[in-house]
């Protein structure tokens, strides 16, 4: 399945702004992050406080919905999903 990842603010300084990746069926957000941190040096430090523990400020949306309200890192992925990675809002 094909997954599109979009990175914003500080995340796009350590990875591409947008990338399309292929995953086998059954992949989760955890699978995706493992792939991304292997691909982009420096992303792991920005994203994780400890192995398997995201830093508090990291927001991950699957098709516009925060994975915190789905199944966290175990949130399943479907073909065509758009995953967004970004820090806390700072508008206004």
């Amino acid at each position: 399945m094909k997954i599109t990842v979009k990175a914003f603010a500080m995340f796009r300084e350590v990875m591409d702004m947008q990338i399309e990746l292929e995953f086998p069926d059954g992949a989760t957000v955890r699978t995706l992050l493992t792939s991304l941190t292997a691909r982009y040096e420096g992303l792991s430090e920005v994203m994780f406080a400890a192995p398997d523990t995201l830093r508090d400020f990291v927001n991950i949306l699957r098709n516009g919905r925060n994975i915190h309200f789905i199944a966290g890192l175990d949130t399943p992925l479907d073909n065509g999903d758009i995953i967004a990675l970004f820090p806390p809002a700072a508008g206004g």
């Binding site: 979009k6 914003f8 603010a9 500080m10 400020f57 927001n59 949306l61 516009g64 967004a84 970004f86 820090p87 806390p88 809002a89 700072a90 508008g91 206004g92």
Partner: protein, 132 residues
């Protein structure tokens, strides 16, 4: 009602004129602008536009229900903004000033808390820290 993200400057006078109705006893305009903190000469504002637009619609609906507002307009800019430029305009209409002031304050606080928009300080050709 206008709920939008845009690069262009905002025509605040037109917004006020178009939004006002005979139900309004008060309109409150909040304008956020680029402050000179002494160590930068512009801001780069980035937004996740489709999600931000949905969040503006949600926040507007919340404020209307909570404060009985007659109208809400929110326009937030993105891209490079120079010192003194307008970043965001929030215009609310209400029957009375109390609801208008409270609704306006509620919207800007929710916007800062929720809407995926980020600021990076720029100084010359150098990019600084992301502001949180």
């Amino acid at each position: 009602m206008v709920l939008a993200l845009q690069k262009e400057d905002i025509d605040i006078s037109a917004l006020i004129k178009n939004s006002r109705s005979t139900k309004d006893g008060a309109q409150v305009v909040f304008i956020g602008c680029v402050r000179d903190d002494g160590n930068m000469d512009a801001l780069e504002i980035e937004a996740f536009v489709p999600v931000a637009e949905k969040d503006l619609r949600d926040i507007s609906a919340e404020a209307i229900e909570k404060f009985g507002l007659t109208s809400v307009d929110i326009i937030h800019r993105y891209g490079r903004l120079e010192l003194g430029e307008t970043i965001v305009v929030i215009l609310v209409g209400a029957g009375h000033r109390s609801e208008a002031y409270e609704g306006s304050r509620y919207i800007i606080e929710r916007l800062k808390e929720k809407v995926p928009i980020w600021k990076q300080e720029l100084s010359g050709n150098a990019r600084g820290e992301w502001v949180h």
